[in-house]
Amino acid sequence: MLKISNLHATVDGKEILRGLDLEVGAGEVHAIMGPNGSGKSTLGNVITGREGYEVTEGSVTYQGKDLLELSPEERACEGVFLAFQYPVEIPGVNNTYFLRAALNAQRKHRGEEELDSVAFLKLVREKLEVLHIGDELLHRAVNEGFSGGEKKRNEIFQMAVLEPRLAILDETDSGLDIDALRTVAEGVNRLRSPDRAMVLVTHYQRLLDHIEPDRVHVLANGRIVASGGPGLARRLEEEGYAWLDEGGIAEVAEAS
């Protein structure tokens, strides 16, 4: 589904990603962990096409297409979704209005009929119910004045409505209370299917207690330096990243 080869990317002329390789197959859930500043969010931004992130080498292929050729909105319409580490506040744009515009843009792209407001509200209510989210977020401006946890929930809610093929969750579990964490896990697990893939960027094992990943990767210094099974995440939680520097890559097989 997603194949990243030898990806090099710069921000403001500074190289952040330095030869990153990653392959995520359909139906798989991968976790990416790694120290602060290692390039995890940068990877998400490059995959979604944010301006200012320049790819200098390598390729990103998604469902057989060159993803880097597409605009951010085309990528979204093709099913790529990023739950932002820091969701943006957009005063004056109603959350429901925004999400309907987004869904309809995607439906239009796929040649499907646009949803009128009645059909859309029905869909929205269903999603809110399964995620146990109250509907007060609907009436407010996008993320405006939302608490940290509410913003993260809103990202998951958007994901549930848009039903992406490839979802990247950038620290969506950070700063969440137990209930909100369940909401996130619920959102991911409900979306899990043989034709979708997910990448969870996280610093903590606790999200992975709810969502069993197929693969765990360690991103450091702009590259994937270790990969393994779910056991790798537990080991990182206990021991941190220092052991990786001491030639730990060889041990990874053991850890998984």
Partner: protein, 420 residues
């Protein structure tokens, strides 16, 4: 034979000489008109050496266009509609509620009530900066007078201003409103000038009265709309003004408010979106003269193409106006390199225990927000439109007159469709 007129000022001068407006007016009004005609001929149109007009020098503008206005206009709904063609009121509606009197200024002048005289003479026109008011006085006799009696709710009055091919080079009109104690009025104005229109308005709010004033300006290419609105507010009166400027021509709005009685409140909201060659200039002058008055001005500008905007907001809290509260905000989105905005908020506080805030910004759309919307599948033009609309909607949504708010929001939406 006279040489043919070359400048607009000369054409206006000829126009004034051709149609002496003084006919049938009381003597004081004839004198006022004659004095101010001389002032206009002396000063000419406002020029850039006048501080108040330096960004909007009318003398240096291309002469106003000669387009005809579209006929359609604001749907008055249950309100009363008056059409003003080339600045002149057409048939006045019959059957107004008891306690509401609407007449032409010519009819009122014939009776020459003292308050009318005091009002007309109250604006000092000696300075060249006030020459557009002098010009308005010189052409006295056109316009409306509305009086609402004590505790009467006059409902909604819509003034629909339109020009035809017969419009003079520049038309003058006057609108005077008196609200007695506790009276209420919603005044909606729909301006779509094709040429040049110079309107002076004077609103008198007695204690406890409320005037809500919503103004749409959708002038045609190269048209001019010059308005001056002078409001005097007695104790606990409320004045709420909102304007939306989406025209293709020039608009200059002067708003002067005197908070003269304790507890009076005034709000001015505005959104302006000049694109193409359009030009919008707001000059505000709010004076807190009494204790415990509130004033708020919130203005949002979106500038595209070679659009030009000026915001000059002066709030003056005079000595003794203790307990005043004054807030002013002007934010602008500059969406083109060729557009320009000059903003100057000005707060002068000479009283005690005053709560005040003011701020002005000029910026671009938030890239992070644009990307957030695009990352969800919304195309870039649509994303920009959503953000631009949101920026202006904030003020339009605050309009208290329901019908005006809905109509203005719809106009804003369709304006953004055409000009993302």
């Amino acid at each position: 034979m006279n040489a043919p007129a070359t400048t607009l000022a000369q054409r206006i001068g000829e126009q004034l000489a051709r149609e002496p407006a003084e006919n049938g007016l009381p003597r004081w009004a004839r004198e006022l008109a004659a004095r101010d005609r001389a002032r206009f001929l002396d000063h000419g149109l406002p020029h850039r050496r006048l501080e108040a007009w330096k960004y909007t020098p009318l003398d240096a503008r291309p002469a106003p266009g000669e387009a005809q206005s579209p006929v359609d206009g604001f749907d008055a709904g249950e309100g009363v509609l008056v059409r003003l063609v080339n600045g002149a009121p057409q048939e006045l509606p019959a059957g107004l509620p008891e306690g509401v009197r609407l007449r032409t200024i010519a009819d009122e002048l014939a009776e020459a009530p003292e308050d009318l005289r005091a009002a007309l003479e109250s604006i000092d026109t000696e300075s060249p900066a006030d020459v557009m008011t002098a010009l308005n006085n010189a052409d006295l006799g056109g316009g409306l007078v509305l009086r609402v009696a004590r505790d009467v709710d006059a409902g909604q009055l819509v003034l629909c201003w339109r020009d035809t091919a017969q419009a003079p080079a520049l038309a003058n009109a006057r609108v005077l409103v008196w609200l007695e104690e506790g009276a209420r009025l919603d005044l909606v104005e729909d301006f779509a000038p094709g040429r040049a229109l110079n309107v002076v308005q004077q609103f008198h709010l007695a204690p406890g009265s409320r005037l809500r004033h919503a103004r749409l300006q959708a002038g045609l290419d190269a048209s001019w709309l010059v308005t001056r609105t002078e409001v005097s507010q007695a104790g606990h009166s409320v004045f709420e003004q909102a304007s939306l400027d989406i025209g293709d021509g020039l608009a200059r709005h002067d708003l002067g408010v005197r908070l003269a009685g304790s507890g009076a409140a005034c709000t001015a909201l505005g959104a302006y979106l000049p694109g193409g060659e359009a030009h919008v200039d707001h000059h505000l002058d709010v004076r807190h003269e009494a204790t415990d008055c509130h004033s708020t001005q919130t203005f949002r500008g979106v500038l595209q193409d070679r659009g030009r905007a000026v915001f000059n907001g002066r709030v003056h809290v005079l000595p003794g106006a203790d307990g005043s509260e004054a807030h002013q905000s002007n934010k602008n989105l500059l969406l083109s390199h060729d557009a320009e905005v000059d903003t100057k908020p000005e707060l002068v506080i000479e009283a005690d225990e005053v709560v005040a805030s003011h701020g002005a910004t000029v910026g671009a759309l938030d890239d992070k927000a644009v990307f957030y919307l695009r990352s969800r599948g919304i195309g870039e033009p649509e994303a920009r439109r959503m953000l631009t609309g949101a920026f202006c909607r904030e003020v339009i949504e605050a309009i208290g007159i329901d019908a005006a708010r809905d109509a203005f929001l719809a106009r804003l939406e369709s304006h953004l469709e055409v000009r993302p």
